[in-house]
Symmetry: C2
């Protein structure tokens, strides 16, 4: 498991470990573009170690994820898991709960884009339980 | 020169060669997210072979570039060249002319984000001349 993690390409700085209140496992979010009134857009990267994932959360104007390396999962509430991997680009609509993170065995490098930040950035919810995550893993 | 090009990481599909009316040299733009009324954001990738660059152009709501591999240049009209390389993130303000492309010796892989597409996407201008490009190269 350690070896597969280390094989991922790191394009951006790793940053500090994200809060246990927002992530399960070891996730490293790094801001790349702060929201402002000109670009109205927030951009960052998250490196998820194998097994790590965000809590459930939503974005008032939605989110675009761009996967630059590794393998992971993205789930929109009420829908099946999507397997996401290097080169994939996925969207989550405004005000819809979702979570994203690494697969159990391989980490994930993912850029996130939050558009239209004048509408808000993120609302955090509960953690993705081991059962929710393991059910997802059984579908891979 | 061929070897340095081939060493770049390709995360996204290479796509078709961009028009000679918009690019000098071999540039390969690929759309990843089309603009729509929900996300209001356009995302894509351009692979520039060594020496390739865009024409001068501007964006009504500005642009964010994310460099995922290689070495290149970004110039905002009236300002010095910026050298851009893997991991860099640069912005160009709304309605300001700029161009971007690869260095003479090493190619460039770059994501672009055009926010607030309800204001428009791009206005194209004249090519970056060999002299403009070679002056820039002499500053590296």
């Amino acid at each position: 498991m350690e070896n597969t993690t280390q094989e991922l390409t790191s394009i951006f700085p790793k940053g500090e470990k994200g809060s246990n209140d927002l992530f399960t496992g070891n996730a490293y979010p790094t801001a790349l573009i702060d929201a402002d009134s000109i670009y109205n857009t927030l951009v960052g990267n998250v490196y998820f170690e194998p097994g790590a994932r965000s809590n459930w959360h939503s974005h008032p104007a939605g989110q675009i994820l761009i996967i630059t390396d590794g393998i992971g999962y993205h789930q929109i509430e009420g829908k099946p898991i999507e397997i996401i991997k290097k080169g994939d680009v996925v969207k989550c609509p405004p005000n819809v709960k979702h979570w994203h993170g690494a697969s159990a065995d391989v980490g994930l490098q993912q850029l996130y884009i939050i558009p239209n930040t004048d509408k808000g950035i993120v609302e955090w919810n509960e953690a993705v339980t081991a059962e929710q995550y393991s059910i997802n893993n059984s579908n891979k």
